[in-house]
Symmetry: C2
């Protein structure tokens, strides 16, 4: 309906449990007419940042997200990239990421979002932000967040659209990541009371 109206649409997702390709496949199966180019997501934003700074990540992410980092050198890691790893958030994996980080001369932690929690069919789950805080505290570092609500993230979505912030509106269910982040960019925002809204 949005597309039929002639309005431009860019999907800003903090989805870090799947590649954009898989994400788009799911949405298309639900009947949404959307392409990979219309999706702004944290993993490709992180890849740009890693390349710019010559960083080689240790990944603590969901298995299904790993292909997004296929082109990135991951030998001898000098940073940790944290996504919503879900079942990969094991005690062993968290300790491994922690040990690598604290062993670095200058620990760099990149987090694909800072959400507190999200809702799945079987209930609320801790989101990547909670694990980010755990590693921040243990290593006394501050994570660099790519994805919502980072200003850069919304700006890159606006650049894709070729639209200034004051002509765009962000629609989302998260008051901080969606609404707050967009407002910090000069966009208007609308909170929908679906999903995790409570």
């Amino acid at each position: 309906r949005i597309k039929a109206s002639g309005l431009k649409l860019q999907l800003c997702t903090n989805e870090t449990q799947a590649t954009r390709e898989n994400f788009v496949r799911k949405l298309r199966a639900m009947g949404f007419d959307i392409s990979v180019a219309e999706v702004t997501a944290p993993a490709p934003a992180a890849c740009r940042l890693l390349r710019e700074r010559g960083l080689r990540p240790h990944l603590l992410v969901h298995d299904d997200l790993v292909p997004e980092f296929a082109e990135i050198d991951k030998t001898n890691p000098n940073c940790v990239v944290l996504g919503d790893a879900a079942e990969n958030f094991t005690y062993a994996n968290l300790n491994e990421a922690f040990r690598l980080l604290i062993g670095m001369e200058k620990p760099v932690l990149i987090s694909l979002g800072q959400g507190r929690y999200y809702k799945e069919t079987d209930g609320l789950k801790l989101d990547v932000g909670a694990y980010m805080k755990a590693l921040e505290y243990a290593c006394d570092v501050q994570a660099e967040v790519v994805g919502k609500p980072a200003k850069r993230f919304f700006e890159s979505a606006l650049a894709e659209l070729g639209v200034p912030p004051e002509q765009a509106i962000m629609i989302g269910d998260d008051i901080e990541n969606d609404v707050g982040g967009a407002q910090q960019c000069g966009m208007r925002a609308l909170q929908v009371r679906t999903g995790k809204y409570r």
Copy 2:
């Protein structure tokens, strides 16, 4: 040697992976002449607090610590008690504790310490403080810490000794939990460069 010198000794531990009985047994096996009464530990301190406030905990702690809470009513929990759960820090257990907390009208999170990490034979491990920060962030609550470096904790150790703070010295390897906590109580403190010191 301390005992032979006539000095009074109270052992302040943040050990939350075992009951005091087990802890003392280990120390005795190493040749230390110590009794349960000479140990101040977070779990019994938490039990006092739970009783005082009529709190019924959901426990996310190490299996070996559970007996310390044997006398405590744990039905229909109205708070979460977090210890160094080690292998019990699974994704499922963390989500369960989170869901209980966020479902409470007034979430109460009690943490048996706030250490960042500790050292084991196979390397550094995230300590209870990291997981405390994760739950604090996800639920937007502040944990109540029993154990070092809480002032109350040192005060109860001093009370056991019957000694004022200015006549006591704290010896430990952790600059925040041991040295900082004791100094806040008016005690002098000595940092030893063993254990996790780096």
